[in-house]
């Protein structure tokens, strides 16, 4: 199936009644959780995975993907109106967006951010459509050693370039892998580390862990301080139209941001967040008025907002083409696919084209819906923030508890949820990154299986697993990610001492 045929087929799938509804519902939920503090796309996806049991896998994925990119729209709203980013990916937007709002250009900032998201989101989907099929075709040749290399190197990249302490990030990888080994072992079915608990034989599930770390952990942090309702900048509908000059300034950053975002999205790591920083510094660098940045430059809103949206499309490439998630949000998507009995991998596109093309087409529709939805309704979404903190947090906690319980009707899952909430609270306070933990939990079983298959194939000769064309390139890249920063620091130190002497 070529791209256009595939896309036409995808639209037929995505426009069918239940799928269209799922898309609408997904982007709506995404926008709301993007606005809300305390619950983000990961928590919301975890929450809704159980309720997709009765839906088909395509419908489920369309809905969950909608939450993912929908949250990118919602996050910018609060950045601009209250200087409180709803999501980490909207932190940069707050810099110039809030300044624009204080100058009375809140409406324009919101419109530019929504349009930028739409332009870049659409660009990203086009790129996804052309990148993913050839990659999947290539991946058909991949054996266990290639898959093991991809997953291992993906985790190294994620921890190595995520920012913050690398030691802490790698520790989170190990902890996630450890949690992933609990339960029945993938090849012989032997129970491991179950502490004699029969219900642990199923393993530590993704939903309670993700919801504990991202939902409960966050609520516990919010509970440290009782805050009043934030003050919102009111936006009138007729203020939503940027001036011709603002449009002219905003359009090129949207396209550039879209490009950067997509390629950063392909790399394992907190792609959406990194891409906003990259886009912002690029815009500042090439601007002929860099002094305006930080004081309400429209480019500083357009570029990053575009970038985080196309990064979500980029992050979908390894997921749909290889069946490997490299971002926490796509890990949730793969979790959903597995629950629905779909085998993710390069064959997905040919064997179940309705999933791939249906999801791609639904992303077009979803982005359009978000654009239409966000402009006139922005005031409504922002007013969610007027709900008092106690009510919001109470509801989020209750949703986390019931959502987790509903997966297996298991009290043990509730304990895992609450335990992970406590762990998440402490680790977040100590600035551990949660993304490597979640990804390691999801990738762990795949890594173990491919490692053991590889060793079996190579009759125990480790070198034979490494010295293959694709793995060796990947491993060298991983070594570079670890070693280069050290070298850089050493060279810098040396040049400093030389200057001193």
């Amino acid at each position: 199936m070529d791209s256009l045929q595939g896309l036409a087929y995808g639209f037929a799938v995505a426009l069918s009644g239940p799928n269209l509804l799922a898309c609408l519902f997904g982007v709506l939920v995404g926008t709301v959780v993007g606005v809300l503090p305390g619950i983000g796309p990961i928590g919301a996806m975890a929450l809704l995975i159980p309720s997709t049991f009765s839906l088909g896998p395509t419908t489920a994925l369309i809905m969950l993907a909608g939450i993912y990119y929908g949250s990118m729209y919602g996050g910018s709203t609060t950045s601009i109106l209250v200087n409180v980013p709803g999501e980490a990916a909207s932190v940069v937007t707050a810099i110039d967006g809030y300044q624009m709002a204080r100058k009375g250009r809140a409406g324009a900032a919101l419109a530019v951010s929504a349009t930028g998201s739409f332009v870049a989101g659409s660009l990203g989907i086009v790129a996804l459509m052309f990148f993913a099929p050839p990659l999947a075709e290539m991946a058909l040749e991949f054996g266990p050693p290639e898959y093991f290399a991809l997953t291992l190197v993906g985790l190294v990249f994620l921890s190595g370039i995520g920012g913050g302490s690398k030691l802490k990030s790698f520790l989170m990888v190990a902890f996630g892998l450890l949690l992933g080994t609990v339960g029945m072992e993938p090849i012989s079915g032997l129970p491991r580390f179950t502490l004699g608990q029969l219900s642990l034989a199923q393993g530590v599930e993704l939903v309670p862990v993700a919801m504990g770390l991202y939902g409960i952990g966050e609520v516990l942090i919010i509970a440290e301080r009782i805050t009043g309702v934030p003050e919102l900048i009111r936006v009138k509908f007729r203020e939503l139209f940027p001036t011709a000059d603002e449009w002219k300034k905003a359009f090129p950053p949207m396209v550039r941001g879209g490009g950067i975002g997509f390629f950063i999205g392909l790399i394992p790591g907190p792609a959406a967040i990194l891409s906003t920083f990259a886009a912002y510094s690029l815009e500042k660098k090439i601007s002929d008025r860099p002094e305006e940045f930080g004081k309400g430059a429209v480019e500083g809103v357009a570029g990053p907002e575009a970038a985080n949206n196309s990064a979500t499309a980029g992050a979908m490439v390894p997921l749909l083409a290889l069946g490997i998630p490299f971002a926490p949000a796509t890990a949730m998507l793969i979790g959903a696919l597995i629950i629905h009995g779909v085998q993710p991998g390069p064959l997905l596109m040919t064997q179940q084209p309705e999933i791939f093309w249906g999801v791609v087409a639904s992303m077009y529709i979803g982005n359009l819906v978000l654009l239409i939805l966000n402009l006139p309704l922005v005031g409504v979404f922002a007013s969610i923030l007027r709900l008092p903190q106690y009510l919001l947090m109470g509801l989020i906690l209750l949703l986390c508890l019931v959502g987790t319980y509903s997966v297996n009707n298991s009290i043990l899952d509730l304990y895992i949820l609450i335990g992970m909430g406590g762990v998440g609270y402490f680790l977040r306070k100590l600035k551990f990154d949660m993304a490597p933990l979640i990804l390691a939990l999801v990738l762990g079983p795949m890594m173990e299986k491919t490692l053991r298959q590889s060793l079996f194939m190579a009759r125990g000769e480790v070198w034979q697993i490494i010295a293959r064309p694709i793995p060796i390139v990947l491993y060298s890249m991983a070594v570079a990610v670890i070693v280069l920063p050290f070298l850089y620091r050493m060279v810098k130190k040396q040049s400093k001492t030389r200057r001193h002497s």
């Binding site: 302490s165 450890l178 491991r192 509970a223 440290e224 019931v402 173990e448 060793l455």
Partner: protein
């Protein structure tokens, strides 16, 4: 507390790693050509042990525990509030089966509302009972999640 948090956390991971490796020693290791169920956990356990040890030593040397490496932990009333929220959650899990969803969810809501600053008992009662009823209807009837009814009702 704040300054000791990282050594304590890394030490906990260290202990977890030791316990994990100890439990793993019961599993068949297999050979390199035919790896058993214990091989991958062995690699994971050793990594966890090494990394947590490195972090523990670094934190004892005073690295990674400055103000920019962590957020301050709450004290006094604020700390008690966080703890109370955590205890409320644990009680919910503990009592869900014996007391049933309706009672537990109403009690959870009431506790959270009160803890996070809603003062009027009338409103607390209204919101918590309302939430319990609406959420029960939503999950049990609409989404088909079988919620525990509790020993009293069944």
């Amino acid at each position: 507390m704040s300054l000791r948090a990282l050594p304590i956390v890394s030490l906990s991971f260290l202990i977890l790693g030791i316990a994990y490796l100890a439990d793993n020693s019961r599993l068949p290791m297999g050979s390199a050509a035919k790896p058993g169920a214990g091989l991958f956990p062995l690699l994971v356990g050793i990594s966890l042990l090494g990394l947590s040890l490195a972090l523990f030593i670094a934190s004892l040397k005073g690295r990674g525990i400055s103000e920019k490496d962590q957020e301050p932990f709450p004290e006094g009333k604020d700390r008690r509030r966080v703890l109370a929220v955590a205890v409320t959650l644990a009680l919910f899990a503990l009592l869900l089966n014996p007391l049933g969803y309706g009672l537990c969810s109403a009690a959870l809501m009431a506790a959270i509302l009160r803890l996070l600053g809603l003062r009027s008992w009338g409103r607390i009662l209204l919101i918590s009972i309302g939430t319990a009823a609406v959420s029960y209807y939503l999950f049990d009837f609409l989404l088909g999640v079988p919620l525990p009814k509790g020993a009293f009702l069944s």
